[in-house]
């Protein structure tokens, strides 16, 4: 009887000190396994759709490259960006027979959200309605992304309009 009791006690002890931890370890292994299996499913989906992914990567790459061309690059200083912006507005005005009466440089500011430098300028111009139309079209649909933030158009004489523009261009990077 004592021997039986001893055997039962030994096996019970083994169960408590070895099997129970082993079972808990098994539970952990099962959890890790479910994570690995979900990662495998993701990787297999990527592999299966590799052709589509490549197309998407290419399309996004092209869009991003095109978008980048609308901005002043990060290596261009903010001052040079202002000069270039002013030259662009002047040449556009000349090409569309608009007359710039005043131009004012704004203070470049780094945008905390996008990390870009905003290049602001204000202009006062004069011209007839058809020229204003041409000017705005060339200005906004040119090589750079220019955003008009505030503006006013008022009639100076019968066909002559005065255009006040506060516009902003964008430069990559946060170094003014």
């Amino acid at each position: 009887m004592d021997r039986s009791l001893l055997i039962v006690l030994v096996i019970t002890a083994a169960f408590i000190f070895y099997i129970k931890p082993a079972r808990e370890k098994g539970e952990q292994t099962r959890m890790r396994l479910s994570v690995v299996e979900s990662q495998i499913a993701t990787q297999e989906a990527i592999k299966r759709g590799s052709a589509d992914f490549k197309k998407r990567v290419e399309a996004t790459g092209k869009t991003a490259t095109t978008n980048e061309t609308y901005l002043y690059p990060s290596k261009t200083s903010a001052s040079l960006a202002l000069v270039d912006l002013q030259d662009f507005v002047k040449s556009t005005a000349t090409a569309t027979k608009m007359e710039i009466t005043t131009s004012t440089w704004g203070e470049p500011v780094v945008d905390g959200t996008t990390g870009m430098t905003r290049i602001p300028m204000t202009f006062m111009l004069k011209g007839v309605p058809a020229d204003v139309d041409q000017f705005l079209q060339k200005l906004l649909y040119g090589n750079k992304f220019i955003k008009i933030e505030r503006a006013s158009v008022s009639r100076l004489q019968d066909q002559l309009l005065v255009l006040n523009l506060s516009l902003v261009a964008f430069k990559r990077g946060g170094t003014p």
Partner: protein, 342 residues
Amino acid sequence: MYNLGNIAMKRIQIIPIEKTYLRVFEKPPKVRLTRQVITFNYGALSPYPGGGHLSCQTATGIFVWYLKNPLTAGMTIQIPEGYLVWRFFKDRTNALVLIVRQGVLSVMVIQNGTLRAQVTRAADEGEAQTLDLLQREYSLQNAEIIRLSPTVTFNVKLHDMITFADVQLKPSNLLEQCVALLKAPLIAMLLITSGFYIYQENRLESYYADKTKYLARLKRENADLQSSLEDVREKTAYWRDFIAKEQIYPDYYQILSGLTDVVKRHGGYLNMVEYNENRLTVWTGIKSSEASIIKELLATGVFQEVKLLASTKDSFKPDFNLYNLSIILRPLSPDVPAKVKS
């Protein structure tokens, strides 16, 4: 496979009739004596010195079977065969149940369904006289004589076991008795469970290792694509944020074109247009009503809201009404082409 029924049956011992001596005692109704009290009152009346006894009780009687041997220690439940015979023939009014075994005749006397006596004597000593004597002794009218085979057995029911089980707890023996009863199934269960867990754990670890290797291989194969994909996600998110901040509304050219087209269609003119963030303030002169120009402005899709702030007659052009309008711009929908794309 262990069967609990078998285990229980191995722990039951039926004491043959011929090895017991029955005495029936009367007791007041509704009084139930404990096993200890029965032992105290009637245990010493045994004809077998040193022998044990088994007992049960009904509403009016106490039945004590004295045994030649002491009771077996441990978990064994001992049941007198005489009790089983009585239980089996309890529905008979008057009966004498006979069983001859190893040259000994045992007779159970049942009167009105109650066990009255148990007689044992040598089989060759005038059976007929014995039966006659018993019928007269107990006034048995039309007693049924029932002869049982020497090898007869009776099923033991749970109630029988409960009646004769010694449920008195002895903590010192309890663990020992439990171990004796459960050691084999417990050892088997523990060994099987342990083996199962060890096997399962090894199998699971091996399966996990295989899956991890497979994942590593897939990651290596998809490394370039994965890197490109993350780059794409990053770029898309970047431009989406930029657009959400800087390209919410139509550009100024679209706004002005939309406005002038409508005014021209109405043969009107614009005196002044002010633009700030998402709002236009317009002074325009037209011949038609303000309702028609508001409807057309909203129909362009560029403007979300148009409010008339003031209206007056143009003093220089009497046919025209001068309207001061406040216009809210409609945000760009994602499917409208814009300069910067995500």
